[in-house]
């Protein structure tokens, strides 16, 4: 059974169709890259799964339950955790507070802090830098540190699936490398399923796994990242035919 399944998803912003009839599914433990040029509808798709962007048509299932048009907080409870584009750390909160938000939904008020403490330790073990600056304001972190923080924050919800929107955005290549390194380790440790959106397919080819290429709101290619990545087809698919 697939962990996540989308069928015929269409997303519209007033008169503009951002995503049209997109279907795919992901198995548990899979790593899937969605790539494509700006405006291909990748982020819209992620946001629709997370429940923050309404879908105009189609159906989304997560872990055997339909989640189409569910509230984001309920989708999060089913094990979907989102790291949005631009990271969206809570800048005025401390790093530890950023991490703690996600633990709220699994605990009652009394047991919250103790329960959160063990989760925190696990995240701090992966990202020791966060522990050092735990009481510092999240808004003051560098881009790379913020990326670590939001991944840590997503982990705190104890998810089955983490979706990450452009983790390399605005980061130096060596920092991006570090981020991916941690992701791979985490995936191995926790048996996470990863859904990663990137504009370029280079990273997907490096990491491996499955890749979907979107353009103009539709899926144009779907296959193994490494085999797809070397072909001429991807060039044509990425840039499309010249208009006019």
């Amino acid at each position: 059974m697939s962990l996540l399944a989308l069928s015929d998803i269409t997303i519209r912003y007033s008169r503009l169709t951002a995503v049209r009839d997109v279907s795919f599914s992901m198995a548990e433990g899979e790593i899937l890259f969605i790539t494509g040029p700006n405006g291909a509808g990748k982020s819209s798709l992620l946001r629709a799964i997370a429940g923050v962007t309404p879908v105009a048509g189609g159906r989304i299932d997560l872990a055997g339950q339909e989640i189409t048009s569910q509230a984001p907080e309920n989708i999060a409870r089913l094990g979907f955790s989102m790291v949005p584009e631009g990271r969206e750390v809570f800048g005025s909160l401390t790093i530890e507070e950023n991490l703690l938000i996600g633990t709220g939904m699994h605990a009652n008020n009394r047991g919250w802090r103790t329960r959160a403490a063990s989760e925190l330790e696990a995240v701090y073990a992966t990202f020791p830098m966060l522990k050092e600056r735990r009481n510092g304001q999240a808004g003051l972190l560098s881009g790379g540190q913020q990326q670590m923080l939001v991944i840590g924050r997503a982990l705190m919800t104890n998810p089955k699936l983490i979706a990450i929107d452009e983790p390399s955005l605005g980061l130096a290549p060596n920092i991006t490398d570090q981020v991916y390194e941690r992701l791979i380790v985490l995936r191995a440790q926790r048996g996470l399923t990863l859904l990663i959106v990137e504009q370029s397919s280079a990273r997907a080819m490096m990491v491996g796994g499955r890749m979907i290429l979107m353009r103009g709101g539709q899926i144009v290619l779907d296959g193994d990242a490494r085999t797809l990545g070397n072909g001429e087809a991807i060039q044509a698919a990425y840039f499309g035919y010249e208009d006019h």
């Binding site: 923050v52 907080e73 800048g91 703690l100 709220g104 939904m105």
Partner: protein, 301 residues
């Protein structure tokens, strides 16, 4: 001098509490709640038995203070949450102008409801009469109430800070105020946070009603309006969405008002508010995002 400080603090306290009530709701919902002033008026009138006679029939107002205070706070919180459930819930996705007008229409309904039950004549109530005695501190003779207003406001501010910093609910609320959809994606329940914000805001309205009611001794349909306006302005120049900014701006507005009343020559004093509003425009021109711009607050498109 000391007296002026106390005057400024006590007036600022009212504005700060009002601004907090508005900023809390704005933070989680981007709603400028114009009904807030009417919630304040409602809390005062809740102490009276509905009647259109000139003589007020004091009802809950006779309770001893340890029952009276929670009663009024609960009234405010209750009405505020009711507004959320019945009305504002349906407007979560509406644009700010629509929400603003809705809140205004709702305030209008509350006001005329009170008017129907109590008539337009201002009613007198003796709320906590022992507080009207003067006391002597550091050589200044102050109304005890002024002192209590300041102390109560400080206590409320400290309590609220602790609540927001130390509890899970407070944490969720701060996160939601900064980035609501992100907080939801982390499992923060929207309804709970918004209702919590409305309840807190309503309880603050109750607190203002208590202070204002015992200070003026009057229950008047219009009484919330002037505080509400100042509070609204304080919220904006404080930096919308920033609770600390709202409080700071509330105190600044109170101070500006008192200082101008003291400094201006007698002929210019009636124009005091024009100077205060002029200062508001200046602040906005130099800091359009407010004194304390809420850090990381994303403009929602």
């Amino acid at each position: 001098m000391l007296q002026i400080l106390f005057d400024a603090l006590s007036l600022g306290s009212l504005y700060a509490l009002g601004a907090l009530g508005i900023a809390l709701i704005f933070g989680v919902m981007r709603l400028v709640n114009f009904a807030h002033g009417d919630v304040i008026a409602f809390c005062v009138f809740a102490l009276l038995w509905p009647s259109t006679d000139a003589m007020a029939i004091v009802f809950a107002g006779q309770l001893p203070w340890y029952l009276l205070v929670p009663f009024v706070l609960l009234c405010g919180a209750g009405l505020s949450v009711l507004c959320e459930i019945v009305v504002f819930r349906r407007f979560r996705k509406a644009n700010p102008a629509t929400m603003m007008i809705t809140s205004f229409a709702l305030g209008f309904v509350i006001r005329y409801f009170l008017l129907m039950l109590y008539s337009s004549r201002p009613k007198s109530i003796s709320l906590l009469p022992t507080l009207s005695q003067p006391v002597e501190i550091f050589g200044a003779r102050l109304p005890l109430l002024q002192l209590i207003t300041i102390i109560a406001t400080m206590a409320i501010l400290i309590g609220l800070t602790l609540f927001l910093r130390q509890t899970r609910f407070g944490l969720e609320m701060r996160a939601a105020a900064e980035n609501f959809s992100m907080a939801r994606m982390l499992g923060v329940r929207a309804n709970r946070v918004i209702m919590g914000a409305f309840a807190l805001s309503g309880a603050l309205a109750g607190a203002i009603a208590l202070i204002f009611g015992s200070q003026t001794g009057t229950a008047d349909i219009q009484m919330g309006a002037s505080i509400m306006l100042m509070a609204f302005i304080a919220t904006v120049i404080g930096g919308l969405g920033s609770l600390g900014g709202a409080v700071l701006a509330g105190f600044l507005l109170g101070a500006a008002s008192v200082v101008m009343q003291v400094m201006l020559p007698v002929d210019a004093r009636p124009f005091r508010d024009a100077f205060v509003y002029g200062a508001v425009i200046l602040v906005l021109l130099f800091r359009p995002q407010g004194l304390i711009a809420a850090r990381g607050t994303k403009e929602r498109v």
